[in-house]
Symmetry: D2
Subunit: 308 residues, 4 copies
């Protein structure tokens, strides 16, 4: 368990086509718009305790604008910034935005933008019947509950993995590769099998997004989401099926701006405090034990910004 | 199998509060309005092959306006009308309405209005991805697919049951009661365990509705519907749980006009062509074997129009 | 609806390795052995109302021994035999076997063995809690409930389809192909989307089996079955995913004798009495609208007996 | 997050009827016996990473023998023992048993026996297909994966809650009651909504067990478990339905020795590091917002040992 990082926080997404992207997030994923300002639209999912969680930003290309972590407290935030600054990863402060932040922005070794913050505001909108929930459940589209994990592409997976292990105490649950070539790593700040995934960048580009994954309540809801996407004529890239790594149930589409989005459910929890990462060697990984459909070749190649 | 009745058809529902009733059917059940005319609003569910299936009608009380059956063909329609007229149940013709009918309207022994029709039009609206479906799946609210069954209250359950067995060839799959007092019967025109249910009317009123049931794709969707209703502050009368009879999974609420509505999934199919009705005696029925929550007392008393 | 055929009945399966085949059916599918006699073992699934439903027979090759239909009554049986004998498809009687039959055995145009019977005995074994069920639910392996449908390979799909339409009143719900080349047809005796499927035989062999499909209670149980098969080291040929035709959820493995077996759930019901078969042309079919994983090439080639 | 406690560990259960209790755990819950020695039988569930997790012990009464926590490391174990000994809760060491321990045994303020341990052995038995799992999935009975949470009765709920908060850093997610009378508390060492629950003891007895809860993979599997229990003629005390607190899906039966056992799925995760316990006052709690069946009166009274 990371002592200092609590969970993935609010994220930013670039899109060249905000109206279409927003229609996808609102009508198909079931998220809500909470504010619009200039080129940015702020959204939330019904399972978010914070006031908002996604900023869709008009840009000339798709991609991740940033990924963030909420820290366990203000001292934890300060400790992580000290580590960054002592280790050559200095960043800068981004001011408070609609209840979240200030945030400290920096880059991982591949150049992806990250933010750390602690201060936040709780959502105070339409209440659910049970007061321990956060928002009335509307039942629209795929009804995603919250951001589940993010998968980034990296030219050097191992250096990114070590950056988070050494600097932030993330735990790594699975690795694919050998000493000489590590091609994927699944990491988490908690007992959940994945929050942050790095997979091999196969181009010379850097800082690219593989996908953002949003969670639904059951595998049945992933199947149901497939019908919603299909009937909305959104192409399904892969799934519904089950990943070998972390064993999560998946469905991949691309939002109209080009970013790959997963609707996900499940994946194991890791209770053992002394759990070692499971390291897949190439043959074992290729054999894909267990069940689950093969992934199409593009799954391993496409990312945003698209450089094909 | 009834040779002459194909399936439950379009139905009519009275409500004293059409705007609230429509909001329930559209936002919470996920049905679509296809036309409005005077005091009537025409709706459909996404799994209906016909152009519409429900007419919500302003009235000074709630209740069933009519239940209908589509016949297996034009001759089947004529045969059933002949039987009605030869057996003292003459009715009258209702003209074609928005693609459905003409319909022959008559009453069952308890005075509930029924209609028979054969002519209909197929829905031609927004197409789903797979062309064997009927309508794009929108994923709104509980997303009911179609009317599954109807439960009517009757002062004399047995005479109603025999009316449909003898006049229409419906099969009865379960009966509760004894020779002297039959209190419930589950009937169907097909291998589905229930399309038409009669249960004991405990007042002196007649022609009352117990509930209309709409089907969703899985038990998971019934559970999901419970959250939608709860968060919309619609009181849940019973469920989600499982009925002993027919073994269907249920959830009961009342639409704002007062009519009881079930969101349902499952119930057994009857394949044996020589299946006899299962007759529950009072003690066995009371013992409620198997699993499933007890039903509240009001479940057996309340119907529409409300006469309490 | 077929007036004379009620439902698929007991079937026979050839296997060169009965012990391994039986272990698959008992431990993984969750069926029960009810009797053993010579080279035959008799099994049942917990949702069968008849005393048994599958005869596993030692043979030098895998394949379907026969598929049967229970008729709607004794006259229906006689009518169908008369049609067969008047149309050049005469067969012979097979004596009553452990409560089922006598059966009239004949061949379809591709040479698959079929049987017709009406007489049967109800299962009288371990009772479930709810008396309208047939057998205590043991919860072993995939827990299949009953045979759902059978898929046969045919050199001339159309002639097989017409044989069942004209001779038995089966309804055809979907067809793939053109006037000159029909490659698949889905047929049923009831409102269920498929009981009997013919797909194109691509070798010169005849009378071959594509697969038998057994039904479970939910899509969740199909996913669960995948884990059971994977952990038992049974290779998964395809799925879990959804078929375009009939829209059923599927999982394919091969029992150790070589026969392809599907664990299935769902598929649409056809309520319209005047429903026409949906005819897919080659391009539309190839485009595979909707969602669902692509099937591996072997899915269209392999059958039993294996002639590769 | 507790820095020192990692998760609930192996537990002990007293039963006056070990053969019947074991049949329940093996055939109905789907656990495996790993060893028998004298009056003790050692079991495991397929999702346990440790070699065993439950010791069923013959006794003249039912009840919890002990509940344990695995600590985050050897220093964490020592720190917690120091706290116990410095705060008047000294215990004693229990030797290593079949790969687990040594364990430090002590009592909570109500007298329930607890153990702390760090050393353990990983299960090395029949491997699943995917190597990140722990055991082949057999698919037997309800197929529970692991112990999910434990609910103890306490005469003074608040003092028990504070004992774990102050001494062990457990987080409390929900409380029912007022300053003067706290009647229930849900606590956890992680982001999971509940691991340890205390509810009001209404007799003068102490150290009693309310229930042990084992988790399955989906709500569908809880529904499926209900059918397994019902058909095995095990009385269902409550459910399947949803709890208001923590929002988990539940099913309660009693194993033949008398201990209440829950088959559970779900319950929320708490991501906010600064989440405060939700405190229900009496009226709000009584109103039971949301959905879920009412619990029978005995649910609040019965515990083991039974003192009625």
């Amino acid at each position: 368990m990371s002592a200092d990082l609590a969970h993935l926080g609010y994220h930013g997404l670039y899109t060249p086509d905000p109206p279409a992207t927003l229609q996808y997030f609102v009508d198909l994923l079931g998220m809500d718009i909470v504010a619009v300002e200039g080129d940015s639209t702020y959204l939330r999912a019904c399972g978010d305790y914070e006031s908002w969680s996604l900023q869709v930003i008009r840009a000339d290309h798709a991609g991740s604008a940033w990924v963030s972590w909420r820290t366990a407290g203000p001292e934890a935030l300060q400790r992580r910034i000290s580590w960054l600054e002592s280790n050559g990863h200095s960043g800068h402060w981004v001011p408070r935005d609609r209840g979240i932040g200030p945030s400290y922005e920096f880059a991982d070794p591949d150049g992806h933008v990250f933010r750390l913050y602690y201060e936040t505001e709780r959502y105070q909108g339409q209440r659910p019947a049970v007061p321990t929930g956060f928002q009335r459940y509307a039942g629209r589209g795929a009804n995603v509950r919250r951001l589940d994990h993010v998968n980034l592409l990296a030219r050097d997976v191992r250096s990114c993995r070590r950056f988070w292990e050494e600097g932030f105490g993330l735990r790594t649950y699975e690795i694919v590769g050998s000493e000489s070539q590590e091609v994927a790593a699944w990491m988490s700040s908690s007992i959940q099998g994945h929050e942050l995934i790095y997979t091999q960048e196969r181009t010379t580009a850097n800082g690219r997004l593989h996908h953002f994954a949003y969670v639904v309540d059951s595998r049945e809801e992933v199947l149901r989401a497939a019908e919603i996407f299909a009937d909305a004529r959104v192409r399904i890239e892969a799934g519904p099926s089950r990943h070998t790594a972390i064993q999560g149930f998946y469905l991949y589409t691309r939002e109209p701006g080009g970013n790959r989005i997963e609707v996900a459910h499940g994946g194991y929890l890791v209770f053992a405090p002394d759990s070692e990462p499971y390291v897949w060697n190439a043959e074992e990984w290729k054999a894909k034990p267990g069940w689950g459909a093969p992934l199409p070749p593009e799954f391993h190649l496409y990312g945003t910004p698209d450089v094909s």
